[in-house]
């Protein structure tokens, strides 16, 4: 079949064929006139007349042919012909190699042999040898965010191999859909006939054929228009570098680390949780060791779940949870790390020992958290009348007891009339604002609270007698647009304890309440609320989420309602959290922990800033200093100073965004999972963590049906050896690019034209 590689409209260039006849006709229109006597000598013989005409026509056809061949050559024609392989020539090609950069690429076999990552180096080297010198190759590494290693279709093989040698160890998971998109964008500029994308992977199901990825393939197919591309679609290959790996190889991994309090006070116990992820195991054998480190310094070894003996059945979900506590003695940013060592070191292994863990890259989890000396909180009291006692005293004492010389919360009580908006943006900026039974606020105060929540602050609203329902709904809830999480429907219940509502322990699933789930005596479930505010959540699309439930005799209402408001978090309680309305809450031991949990939960709104998603920018609010004074250590990278775009040599590119009160440092290249350590001008380290996806620990291979499904969806061919990929194009070799032949023809025609013109000139 004859077709053109480049846009067919280039063939419109064939109109240039009309140029020689047009020039000829124009020449004939522009002539001199001579009155002549010797007319009989102008009479040429019939033979000469024919010869002249023939020469003229031939020359014109030759020039038209020249232009035509040139246009055709530029349009990149090719023809599919069945030629014997011996006569076929290999067409030039542009190739984008997508190397799987996920942690599973470091998995070894039973004997600890070469990992797929090592095999990929050999595979690419062999493949490159088979390419023609003019073939272009680019290299992408598919991770959570794709790394572009060779960003142009380069024929420099040494550069590519050197870049491969310098690749960091595989980590995190792979986003192949994004890598395909970038590969297609690179090939979009290619002028070569053969354009190929080769994925080098380990046939892991996760990232290639899991439900999320299958959905991504669907989206990618539509986004790239794979079905519409037809002949222009690059050829897609997938190479399995772990073809000898069993279907479910054994592996141990760690689930991401979490804490009940992302912001913790100094010298207070904080709990961390994680899980051991088991795949390909029949029994759970406790790991050899679990190390616990803070800021990179060993603290202690954790007791493996299930004890030292172990040998327990594997839970259904393959997860073995464990937790541990720690007290931080210094304020500031801290990095908590848990390192799993499933197998003993090689020298300690008994003969015939079977390795439990294949992937070393998923045995570590980190968690960044902020430790504060005392959490700054402003308590805005709704009681404006001067008196020695106030209902807000309960909250103040719960947070900051008068006897405690080093309270974990530093509370500043302000009557609502005296509340100055400037207090929320001053140097002693609070982390949480507590509105206790405030009737209403002035517009400036509302505006300040709005800005406070939007920039990462936490607001707790307790509702009591004084609250003006209409004002709250109109100014703070604003039909779901304001920061108030729920609409106030009205006060319900009566003073009778017998008919009072009580918190339903079944609803204590929220991180803020889970502490009270199993506490029976003096716990939150013993609280009684004769009266409470009914909090309205209009439908499924309400911005607020209920936190706990109040179970009344005839009703069931939210205890708290929370919502995320831009960078901040707000919480509204259905009760005033004091002794009013005949409640026994303040008498219960659970009162103080409840208030602390609520406050720290709200203060943790900004903790997400330290534990990032891949690609989520790293931000740091700084009081001063220049960008060059900060230094950064990314995962598997060296410590370097920062510089503004476009960046200086040996620096990392970041931005310093100047704001009214402070500046914000933004570093965007957080594509690689791991720990990012930012060193401030005062040499204070700030830790940021991009956690790895625990699903990467599951080495389960794709079944042939799953491979087939993805292959059909993308129009992709599975082939393992480089020779097969090179030789697999054998049938395609019959596709002949014609531009080279046309070029030879063009040169031939050019020579003929020169010869003919010269001959005509010489004959004159």
């Amino acid at each position: 079949m004859f077709a053109f590689l480049h846009v067919p409209w280039m063939l419109l260039g064939l109109v240039v064929l009309a140029v020689p006849p047009i020039i000829h006709l124009l020449n004939r229109r522009r002539y001199d006139v001579v009155d002549w006597g010797a007319m009989q000598f102008l009479q040429v013989s019939e033979v000469t007349r024919r010869r002249l005409m023939l020469e003229e026509i031939l020359l014109m056809l030759l020039r038209m042919g020249l232009l035509g061949v040139l246009v055709l050559a530029l349009a990149g024609p090719y023809v599919d012909v069945e030629l014997p392989a011996a006569f076929a020539t290999r067409p030039t090609r542009d190739v984008v190699l997508i190397l799987d950069g996920s942690a599973s690429m470091a998995a070894t076999d039973e004997l600890g042999g070469a990992s797929p990552q090592t095999k990929a180096r050999e595979w690419i080297s062999t493949y490159l040898e088979g390419l023609s010198p003019q073939d272009g190759v680019a290299l992408l590494v598919a991770r959570d965010q794709v790394l572009t290693i060779i960003d142009t279709l380069s024929s420099d093989r040494e550069r590519l191999l050197t870049a491969l040698d310098r690749l960091s160890a595989p980590s995190g998971s792979a986003n192949f859909a994004e890598a395909f998109k970038q590969a297609f964008a690179l090939l979009e500029k290619s002028q070569k006939l053969r354009r190929e994308v080769i994925v080098l992977s380990d046939n892991q199901k996760f990232g290639w054929a899991d439900p999320d990825t299958l959905f991504r393939w669907e989206l990618l197919t539509h986004e790239l228009g794979l079905e519409r591309l037809g002949e222009r679609k690059p050829r897609l290959w997938c190479v399995n570098l772990a073809s000898d790996r069993s279907a479910t190889p054994p592996n141990y991994g760690l689930a991401p680390l979490s804490s009940n309090r992302p912001v913790v006070p100094v010298d207070r116990e904080v709990m961390f949780r994680s899980e051991i992820l088991l795949t390909g195991q029949t029994r759970y054998l406790p790991p050899y060791r679990i190390r616990f480190e803070v800021d990179g310094k060993p603290i202690r070894d954790l007791t493996p779940p299930g004890g030292k003996a172990g040998n327990l059945p594997v839970p259904k979900d393959g997860r073995v949870p464990f937790s541990f506590t720690h007290r931080f003695t210094r304020p500031g940013s801290h990095l908590v790390s848990v390192i799993l060592e499933p197998d003993p070191p090689a020298e300690e292994r008994p003969p015939g020992y079977t390795i439990k863990d294949r992937v070393p890259g998923d045995n570590r989890q980190d968690f960044a958290l902020e430790v504060l000396t005392a959490l700054p909180v402003i308590l805005i009291d709704g009681n404006n009348t001067p008196s020695s006692t106030s209902s807000s005293d309960f909250l103040r004492d719960a947070l900051s007891p008068a006897r405690d010389r080093q309270p974990s919360v530093k509370v500043q009580v302000v009557p609502f009339e005296d509340f100055q908006p400037g207090i929320l943006t001053s140097d002693g900026r609070p982390r949480v604002v507590l509105l206790h039974d405030v009737p209403k606020l002035r517009p400036a105060q509302v505006e300040a609270l709005d800005a406070f929540a939007a920039t990462g602050g936490g607001i707790l609203v307790t509702l009591g007698e004084r609250v003006e329902q209409a004002w709250y709904n109109e100014q703070l809830y604003r039909g779901g647009e304001g920061w108030l999480p729920a609409r106030l429907e009205g006060v319900t219940g009566n003073e009778s304890l017998a008919e009072a509502a009580r918190p339903d322990p079944e609803s204590f699933k929220h991180p803020m309440l889970e502490l009270f789930e199993k506490v029976t005596t003096g716990g939150l479930s013993e609280a009684r609320f004769p009266r409470w505010w009914r909090l309205g959540l209009p439908g499924r699309h309400s911005p607020g989420l209920p936190v706990g439930q109040l179970q009344g005799p005839r009703c069931r209402d939210p205890f708290f309602v929370e919502r995320s408001y831009q960078q901040g978090r707000t919480l509204v309680a259905a009760v005033p959290l004091d002794a009013s309305w005949g409640t026994n809450l303040v008498d219960l031991p659970a009162f103080v922990p409840l208030v602390h949990e609520a406050i720290y939960y709200l203060a943790g709104a900004r903790s997400a800033d330290f534990n990032l998603r891949p690609g989520q920018p790293l931000r740091w609010r700084t009081g001063g200093g220049e960008l060059e004074d900060f230094r950064l250590t990314p995962p598997s990278g060296e410590e370097r100073p920062l510089s503004p775009p476009p960046g200086q040599p040996n620096t990392y590119v970041a931005q310093l965004i100047r704001q009214e009160q402070s500046s914000q440092l933004v570093y965007e290249d957080t594509r690689q999972p791991g720990v990012y350590r930012l060193l401030t001008p005062l040499l204070e380290p700030i830790y940021y963590v991009v956690p790895t996806d625990p699903r990467e620990s599951d080495l389960t291979a794709c079944t042939s049906e799953e491979r087939e499904r993805v292959g059909q969806r993308l129009g992709l061919t599975y082939e393992d050896s480089p020779e097969a990929v090179l030789g697999g194009t054998e049938t395609a070799f019959t596709r002949q690019e014609l531009w080279a032949y046309l070029l030879v023809g063009l040169i031939g025609l050019l020579c003929l034209e020169v010869w003919m013109t010269r001959r005509l000139v010489m004959n004159r």
Binding site: N27, R28, R30, Y31, D32, V33, V34, D35, W36, G37, A38, M39, Q40, F41, L42, Q43, V44, S45, T48, L52, E55, E56, L760, N763, R764
Partner: protein
């Protein structure tokens, strides 16, 4: 012989009388030894005796007086009858960078008439295109020169040429043996001209053919696309690429000239090609050298 006149500079003088006189007198002044001098009855001058001179021509009286040998020279007496046959057809009107062929023929004819009458030879004129327009019988008096010049001056080229029939007609009309000087581009079939010249020769006429051509006709220097319009037949036009045609044209032209020369050679006609970019004196020189050879 020194060539002193540029044909283009002559045009500004206008009247042929003056031009002819200037040409001839200037020409004669430049020639030290007059070819017209010979030994006749009318004494012209003495000259020193050189060995080889006939002894009977020695003026013994002068030897007696001067004791030196002188020979006597005498003015030649001629009875030459000449016709100037001037082609005034359309093709003679071709004018490139130089005067037209007809103008050039006018100068040459006028000069020859002046020269011959100066020598007291009888000169006549035949002007023709398709037909004989003017025929002046030969006379030897000086008034006749004015008639010839006037006839030449009033003539303008035009009409189609049929040379051979005209020359045949001339041969029939000219009864007395004469020298016929033809000034023409001779654009006709050489074969037909052969018969016409044979006819003239048969009538015992001496024929001298001045083949007047423009340099453009000889060299064909045109390069751009050109429409050639026939001077004799205005409806005949040819649009050609001269560069492509040049080789063929030159071959045709050379063949024609060779044929014409051959025709002249066969008929004992004195053939001279004169170009309009050459001085008119060349034609006078050619004429006089012929006259000298005749003696």
């Amino acid at each position: 012989m020194t060539l002193t006149f540029d044909p283009t500079s002559l045009a500004k003088y206008g009247r042929l009388t003056l031009i002819a006189r200037n040409l001839v007198e200037g020409f004669l002044t430049g020639v030290h030894k007059s070819p017209y001098k010979g030994f006749s009855v009318e004494f012209a001058e003495h000259r020193q005796y050189y060995p080889g001179d006939e002894i009977r021509h020695i003026d013994w009286r002068a030897v007696a007086k001067t004791d030196r040998y002188y020979v006597k020279e005498y003015e030649e007496e001629t009875n030459l009858r000449a016709y100037l046959l001037v082609d005034a057809s359309g093709s003679m009107a071709y004018k490139g960078k130089y005067p037209s062929k007809f103008q050039f023929a006018q100068y040459v004819a006028a000069s020859l008439a002046y020269l011959m009458l100066h020598q007291r030879d009888a000169v006549g004129l035949i002007l023709h295109d398709t037909h004989i327009r003017r025929l002046l019988k030969p006379r030897a008096n000086s008034k006749h020169l004015l008639q010839i010049l006037r006839a030449l001056e009033l003539a303008a080229p035009g009409g189609e040429t049929a040379l051979a029939p005209l020359w045949h007609q001339s041969a029939e009309q000219l009864k007395q043996r004469s020298l016929i000087v033809i000034l023409s581009d001779c654009f006709a079939e050489p074969a037909t001209l052969l018969r016409a010249l044979q006819h003239l020769r048969h009538r015992k006429h001496e024929v001298m053919l001045f083949h007047v051509l423009a340099p453009e006709e000889i060299e064909f220097p045109f390069t751009r696309w050109t429409q050639f319009r026939n001077l004799e037949l205005p409806t005949d036009r040819k649009l050609v690429d001269p560069a492509r045609l040049r080789k063929e044209y030159l071959a045709n032209f050379e063949r024609f000239c060779n044929d014409l020369r051959e025709v002249c050679g066969r008929t004992m006609v004195d053939y001279h090609l004169i170009r309009t970019d050459e001085p008119v004196e060349r034609a006078l020189g050619l004429f006089l050298s012929r006259r000298q050879r005749q003696r």
